[in-house]
Symmetry: C2
């Protein structure tokens, strides 16, 4: 089987043996945004043509390749969604001399206010760790758009997305706060101060201005300010997630693992980090659900 994690900015391919172990792998900076003219078949042939020529298959893909901007849109499956529901909605693409590949759909849900939420790619990572988790569990996937996922009965019951990483990046790059931020967030004590700050009254928009005011008053060193801001934002994210779970499982985003572990422990959770190669195992787990495999 060929498992492909094809996102907005990167392409990762894995050749799996009959037991699902990784026999070979390749990566390229060939995200869907970088494939000219929508020539996805040609891009795929160029990356793994030799595996295909050797008769390897099926090809199973996940990520933004299934978005409206990708090869073929694989519409979102509504929660609750497990491997069966997701597998049943795989989309087929055909090309060349009778070759086919399968694309996993994303997952959607609605929050308490009835507003939709979406994931695409993360569902496959989650499928990859399902068999290592209790049937009811909370998973946090930190990142540009952090996701908090509630599992029930071994399926994705619901989730919320938080624009935490993108908010941090844009506040740092494009606002008055950025001038202070001479260093990346790397100061655990000031990160902790930011977590504490997020629990004080005043709201996030006021806490943001406080970063500047503390700087003006010489009460926040410039090199620590990005850590403090990161703590404020991640603290607000954690506070807004309605979970009383003792354990929260951290998935993906290895670079953010230490910060999220720190934040989770600050808020009284136990943090357990899961294997970052989850997407490959998720794709493997989907293969028995392919329509052709079910025949």
């Amino acid at each position: 089987m060929i498992a492909i994690d094809w996102g907005t900015s990167s392409f990762r391919a894995y050749r799996l043996d009959a037991a699902g172990a990784i026999a070979d792998k390749r990566a390229a900076p060939l995200g869907i945004m970088h494939v000219e003219g929508g020539r996805f078949a040609e891009a795929l042939e160029a990356q793994v043509g030799d595996w295909l020529a050797a008769g390897e298959g099926p090809v199973v893909m996940s990520g933004m390749i299934g978005s409206r901007q990708g090869w073929k849109e694989a519409p979102y499956v509504e929660c609750p969604a497990g491997s069966e529901q997701i597998g049943a909605r795989m989309q087929q693409v055909a090309w060349g001399a009778g070759r086919v590949a399968w694309i996993a759909p994303g997952v959607s849900c609605r929050d308490a206010g009835g507003v939709p939420d979406v994931m695409r790619g993360e569902e496959t990572q989650i499928l990859g760790v399902l068999d290592t988790l209790p049937a009811a569990a909370w998973i946090c996937l930190p990142g540009t758009h952090s996701k908090w996922v509630e599992l029930r009965d071994g399926r994705i019951h619901g989730f919320t997305t938080h624009m935490t990483g993108e908010a941090f990046a844009t506040l740092r790059a494009h606002t008055i706060l950025g001038r202070m931020m001479t260093e990346a967030p790397n100061d655990p004590a000031w990160f902790e101060a930011g977590l504490k700050r997020s629990r004080e009254p005043g709201g996030l928009l006021h806490h943001l201005f406080g970063v500047r005011a503390r700087g003006l008053f010489g009460e926040l060193p410039d090199p620590a300010s990005a850590s403090y801001l990161s703590g404020i934002l991640i603290g607000h994210e954690l506070q807004s997630v309605a979970t009383t779970a003792d354990t929260v499982y951290l998935l993906g985003a290895r670079a953010l693992e230490a910060a999220y572990r720190h934040a989770l422990e600050h808020f009284g959770h136990r943090a357990v980090a899961l294997d970052a190669d989850a997407a490959v195992r998720g794709l493997w787990r989907l293969s028995p659900h392919l329509p052709e495999a079910r025949k």
Copy 2:
């Protein structure tokens, strides 16, 4: 008297008669950032040299001209601060043939968490409307950095700053949300939907992602998305301000007045807009407190 509102990006000068009425006025895009090499005396002479030559005075200034990046730093006066406390801390600058001018200080306070907050310029606007307000009142000054000010005994008792306007601008210009925002915020119904959204669970960072998700699902038209985002942000600002005041006075930022009036009424307040020329009257009100006037 010559009253000058000298901010980061603009310069406004008013010649006042003996009764405090505006006899003449001038404005220039000559904020303190645009004054080369800190030549503030030369800039002032160039703008109002004829008034000075005619013997007009004193010169009283407020705004960022009193910041560390301005002509002379006028350190913040701590709350509670009224015209007496602010007037007593005016800073003098001297230049040329014995000429002097006075710069109003900003005001600072500490919030419930002990974090400092600051204003510079707004204190003079507030002094300008004091005699039209009850001794105890709440004032909101919308803007890039919105301020909520509590008056007690006719003085600034405390205040909080919220990075609402700057957050809106940077989210619109520099994040994934911006792609949707083909129009300026001008849709009251979607602004209202954003206000309502701000009261739902999930937190601001989740509500931000919901803007995108509603767009993806065809449940939020692109031209309405900036209005919806604006409602979410202003709604979060209002919710985080701890006031049960029936009436909230709106000061300055004429362009944001309609949106804030809408939001205040949505949250059960009565909105009363005050005269936007408040800074001039505040400077006039400070003149009897100048150290030389007190002699």
